[in-house]
């Protein structure tokens, strides 16, 4: 599971950091208005929340990449380990390259 989580969490973390720096350098978060009122009162809070919003977006994107990366073999694969399959089961073993 960890092997799967790190490629999702880590690249999105890097991207979120960069995005937060670029975004908050260009825009002062105190000047962001929502229906005429300031959306947020403290800059540190705005930067932090902004970072987590970017991170969540990145996580969503990376997770989808991982999700769609599964090949046909991985999707078709029998969930049972080969030993537990019934006698005469036509399921082939995958040739490697699938998870």
């Amino acid at each position: 599971m960890m092997q799967r989580m790190i490629p999702i969490l880590w690249p999105s973390f890097i991207v979120a950091g960069l995005a937060d720096i670029v975004f908050t350098s260009l825009f002062d978060p105190l000047e962001i208005l929502y229906r005429g009122e300031a959306l947020i009162e403290h800059r540190i809070a705005a930067y932090s929340i902004g970072f987590f919003v970017f991170w969540i977006l990145g996580i969503a994107s990376s997770a989808l990449t991982c999700y769609f990366q599964r090949g046909a073999d991985a999707i078709n694969r029998c969930p049972l380990p080969s030993r537990q399959r019934p006698e005469g089961c036509p399921k082939r073993e995958c040739d490697g390259g699938c998870e």
Binding site: R43, S48, P81, C94, E99
Partner: protein, 473 residues
């Protein structure tokens, strides 16, 4: 992070997962002494002295290096940078990247081996480990024994010391972004703000996790630089290299044996180079991306060579071309200058000069203009045309200044201000309404470009100009 000391178990019910991923064996590197180990200790001390000390330095009654995020101002010594000065940050990053490329092309992964925070904190955490849990053999034994009170004590003490270091690191990190003295006072009185506390703990947790558990995995799986550093290498790049021609065929032998007569190379196959490696590789297999260039194997091998009475340098910093016999070790210096390094050097020189010139001639004033949104223009009682603007003056200087406003672009153009000059305190932003008045006979078009010039009365050279449009009736 699970401590995966256990070997992959073939009878486990998920055989395919195991074929794809080698489960990480925890590495307990053997401590090593020598020239390069000393360099690393020196670099750890130097970098940490800078990191932990810098935020406490003062300059003109304020923190010398402070990236004040809450106020959107960066203070570095006498300079104050505003978000509009982002280009300097970009310039600095480009220069750092080029410097990294240059160092990598010349001498490989110097950064990784001696200066990277991941290396430095892993080193510090391993000192603690060595101190509280003993050498690599004792640590491996401790890993293997079942949990007991004495194991709990040893592990507990280690984690306590790690945690204190990590917490201090996190506190210092946040101290670069909010004034550290205020932060210290708040920490002592237990009144830290929620976000400050959060980031201190977050950074502390990251330090503890990366330096205590992840270690070489960060370099192997998470570091972007480790992945692409090889493109900066060429055959003249200094890398940690095992001299195959001298070492092979490797094999055990007695100290007094004439190994050449016995058909052996200089490598006694003692395995010290593997035991000391923090990433757990065998450098004798050649250059690998896992090698962070720490040179621990050089120190380890040199000790063995000394014991055997063989010359040092079976593993040494050398280049591929030397190993191939194209030139001797003393030719390395001559081969530093080559198209790649000259190109990096030239780029650094050009960008660095532009950076310095731009910083030296930087005007500590910025003027922005906004047109009055209600009316484009209006006619005065005496038949002239008036346009109203708002000028925003940012005094980026550490001193107060008074400014005058002039305008040009139309013959006879007049500036109407409520006062003769504008005052701005240090680092103050002033918003003032200003009118321009022109005679309609001078206006040919619907609108004409005009230019405001704001000039400090008390300091020559502090001038900024801004363009806008003047509208006819």
């Amino acid at each position: 992070m699970a401590q995966t000391d256990d070997k992959p178990d073939a009878s486990n019910s998920a055989p395919i997962e195991q074929q794809l991923y080698a489960i990480r064996q925890k590495i307990q590197p053997r401590a090593v002494h020598g020239v390069f180990a000393n360099w690393r200790v020196a670099m750890v001390l130097l970098t940490q002295l800078v990191y932990f000390g810098l935020p406490w330095l003062k300059w003109d009654e304020r923190q010398a290096v402070l990236f004040d995020l809450a106020a959107r101002k960066f203070y570095i010594a006498g300079w104050v940078f505003w978000p509009q000065d982002f280009v300097y940050l970009a310039g600095l990053l480009i220069l750092s990247a080029l410097a990294l490329f240059l160092f990598t092309a010349v001498a490989g992964r110097l950064w990784c081996g001696y200066a990277c925070p991941q290396t430095v904190y892993t080193e510090v955490f391993m000192w603690v480990e060595q101190w509280l849990e003993g050498d690599h053999i004792a640590r491996k034994k401790l890993d293997a024994v079942p949990w007991s009170l004495s194991k709990l004590k040893k592990r507990g003490a280690k984690h306590l010391v790690w945690f204190v270091i990590a917490l201090w690191t996190g506190f210092t990190f946040v101290g670069y972004f909010t004034p550290i003295r205020t932060l210290a006072a708040e920490a002592i009185t237990w009144t830290l703000g929620p976000w400050e506390s959060f980031w201190i703990l977050f950074y502390a947790f990251a330090t503890w996790g990366n330096a205590g558990f992840m270690r070489e995995q960060v370099c192997k799986y998470m570091c972007p630089y480790a992945r692409f550093q090889s493109v900066m290498f060429d055959s003249d790049t200094l890398t940690v290299t095992y001299d195959t021609s001298r070492g092979e065929p490797r094999g055990a032998r007695g100290k007094k044996v004439d190994y050449k007569a016995a058909g052996l190379g200089a490598c006694v196959d003692c395995g010290v180079c593997v035991q000391v490696c923090p990433t757990g590789i065998d450098i004798r297999n050649g250059l690998q991306y896992e090698c962070i260039g720490c040179a621990a194997c050089i120190d380890g091998c040199d000790q063995i060579m000394d014991k055997m009475g063989y010359p040092r340098g079976l593993i040494r910093y050398t280049t591929e071309n030397v190993v191939k016999g194209k030139y001797a070790d003393d030719g390395i210096f001559r081969h530093i200058l080559r198209p790649r390094t000259i190109l990096y050097g030239m780029l650094m020189l050009v960008i660095g000069s532009a950076f310095i010139v731009s910083l030296a001639t930087r005007v500590p004033l910025r003027v922005d203009v906004v047109r009055d949104r209600v009316a484009l223009s209006k006619e005065t009682d005496d038949g002239l045309i008036e346009n109203v603007y708002r000028l925003q003056l940012i005094n980026k200087d550490g001193r107060a200044h008074r400014y005058t406003v002039e305008a040009r672009g139309i013959p006879g153009l007049r500036v109407v201000l409520s006062q003769a000059s504008i005052s701005a305190a240090p680092l103050q932003t002033v918003d003032i309404p200003v009118s321009l008045v022109a005679d309609p006979v001078e206006l040919d078009d619907r609108s004409t470009e005009v230019q405001f010039t704001v000039r400090a009365i008390d300091a020559p050279g502090i001038v900024d100009e801004v363009k806008t449009r003047f509208f006819n009736r």
